[in-house]
């Protein structure tokens, strides 16, 4: 699982002085963070510490909730240019297309597998009909779902197993060709085997995307993370690099941090 650094790592997302308030109460404050391309950063922290809020601040999904106020800057490098997520996107849809997100529980659309991929591809990315089948197959192969579903693309997505649904959600995000992936506990609702499978996929994907993931499992964190950040009470409490994780003492400290 060792991995050679091919190129000097480049920053891809920069968060500065970020604070998010819900109805006047701060859920996040004073967050400064840089995410690098080709790296997986894992966020851990106790429940209610603001992990989900941090992820949603990056694709501005917090705005879907009433009484939410965000201050600070989130800058993202897209196609080599730095853009401010909160100023330069009008409408916000383009930002969300380039920053894919997978949720804790699979949330497929209650229609066919194919439609789950094609509706956003046609309506959001504006993909032409002729390029559609190729892109769908590519996305499903990317998450190793193609062989399992290629004969039943027209079946309802709800007939898939939980792990398959979650991989479909990942494929749906990947199909839109994002540069950043936000994963909110993607294996939380899955059993051991399905979890393993998703973890393997993520290891394969992490070189090509900037990934920010939440995890509740320390084992998983160790297996996947290039970097770990710890949130507590809406603050960034600590950061570790990969090397520290393998160190038993740090690991102990981490355990205490969370529980």
């Amino acid at each position: 699982m060792e991995r050679a650094d091919l190129s000097p790592r480049e920053p891809s997302v920069q968060i500065a002085d970020l604070a998010v308030h819900f109805a006047g109460r701060a859920a996040l404050h004073g967050i400064n963070l840089t995410l690098e391309a080709g790296q997986m950063t894992v966020v851990i922290g106790p429940s209610g510490s603001g992990k989900t809020t941090l992820l949603r601040a990056i694709n501005r999904l917090n705005e879907c909730f009433p009484n939410c106020r965000t201050v600070g800057t989130v800058r993202i490098r897209l196609d080599g240019r730095w853009v401010d997520a909160y100023r330069d996107f009008r409408p916000v849809a383009e930002l969300r297309r380039r920053v894919g997100m997978v949720f804790q529980t699979p949330n497929v659309l209650p229609c066919s597998i194919e439609k789950n991929l094609s509706i956003p591809l046609i309506r959001v990315a504006g993909l032409s009909k002729s390029r559609l089948p190729g892109r769908i197959e590519w996305a499903l192969r990317e998450v190793e779902l193609w062989d399992e579903v290629k004969d039943r693309l027209r079946h309802n997505a709800l007939t898939l197993s939980g792990g398959q649904q979650q991989r479909l959600c990942l494929a749906r995000a990947l199909a839109l060709k994002p540069q950043v992936l936000l994963l909110d506990e993607p294996t939380a609702s899955l059993d051991f085997r399905a979890t393993q499978k998703i973890e393997r996929l993520l290891l394969k994907l992490r070189d090509r995307y900037t990934i920010l993931a939440i995890s509740h499992s320390l084992g998983q964190t160790r297996r996947l993370a290039d970097r770990v950040i710890v949130l507590r009470d809406g603050r960034l409490a600590e950061q570790f690099d990969r090397e520290h994780l393998e160190d038993a003492e740090t690991f102990e400290a981490l355990l205490e941090e969370i529980f």
């Binding site: 999904l61 409408p91 383009e94 969300r96 949330n107 509706i119 956003p120 309506r123 959600c169 839109l176």
Partner: protein
């Protein structure tokens, strides 16, 4: 062994009584439906004679010449209900979309309150205002006829069935919207895009139910067609023609108290209406609506 307390016997029989009483109350609805059907059929029986049946199922209503055809009224009812539905359905969809993401929350909430309020406005008031506001306008604009026409009635009736349609679609949207809202937003859908490409295509059943129930309400309405449609027993050839519906026919014949043969024809009208709305109710059940609130808020005109 566990001994049961003394009182249990009397409470037990009390329980049984209560249950029986409640069941009896519940049976009232079913019994009422069957008696209504029974009465309608019974009074239609004289029409079992082929000659009389042919007279009723004909195209001319001239009771004093002995012609009791009700087909013009059937066509009148159908065209009025269809007209109202064509006007009200797209409006209902638009309003539902406003209430589910296109409009700011405060506006959305106010809009839904307004829709509920519309459902509580008496039918006779819609018709009354139409007679003194819409009909004169129609007379001026089209410079033809009296203004009492299929078009005037359809416009008014559209307002009447609008709340029914909105509330039904709203219920369906409420079911599918919340879990998908965040996921769609994360995929880059705008609120309009989400509604147009995700929510609406997925609410086929709700839309169908709304259309069917809206049609049922429209066809069962009496006051608007009676007061606004003009009541000429003829086949409409344009939207500006005056028409007479089945419901208005019943009201008019009973009011004028004409000779007996005409009576049988109104029971035929009643039976047709009963069967039509029965089919509507059965269809709605087949579409298995999520909540009964819909039927409760929707107007039974």
């Amino acid at each position: 062994m566990i001994s049961t307390p003394r009182r249990s016997r009397s409470t037990l029989s009390g329980e049984r009584w209560l249950r029986g009483l409640l069941l009896a109350a519940t049976l009232v609805s079913t019994v009422a439906v069957f008696s209504i059907l029974g009465f309608l059929v019974y009074f239609c029986l004289p029409l079992a004679d082929p000659a009389r049946l042919a007279a009723v199922a004909s195209c001319t209503w001239q009771p004093f010449q002995g012609q009791f055809g009700i087909l013009p009224m059937v066509v009148g009812s159908l065209s009025l209900a269809a007209g109202a539905l064509v006007l009200a359905f797209p409006m209902g969809v638009g309003i539902c979309c406003l209430a589910h993401g296109l409009a700011p929350r405060a506006v959305a909430r106010a809009l839904l309150v307004l829709i509920h309020f519309m459902a509580s406005i008496p039918t006779v008031i819609y018709a009354f205002v139409s007679v003194f506001l819409l009909v004169p306008l129609m007379r001026q604009w089209f410079e033809r006829g009296s203004g009492f026409s299929l078009l005037s009635a359809a416009l008014t009736l559209a307002v009447l069935v609008l709340p029914t349609i909105v509330l039904l679609i709203h219920i369906r949207f409420e079911q599918i919207d919340p879990p998908l809202r965040l996921a769609s937003a994360a995929l880059g859908f705008s609120p309009a895009g989400e509604l147009l490409w995700v929510i609406l295509p997925l609410s086929g059943r709700g839309l169908a139910a709304a259309a069917v129930l809206g049609f049922g309400r429209a066809i069962g309405d009496t006051m608007i067609s009676l007061m606004v449609a003009g009541n000429a027993p003829q086949f409409p050839t344009s939207m500006l023609d005056s028409i007479r519906t089945l419901t208005a026919q019943i009201a008019l014949v009973v009011a004028t108290d004409s000779q007996t043969p005409a009576y049988h024809s109104i029971f035929a009208c009643g039976l047709i209406l009963f069967l039509a709305t029965g089919v509507v109710s059965l269809t709605i059940r087949r579409l298995r609506l999520p909540s009964r609130e819909s039927l409760f808020h929707a107007k039974n005109a």
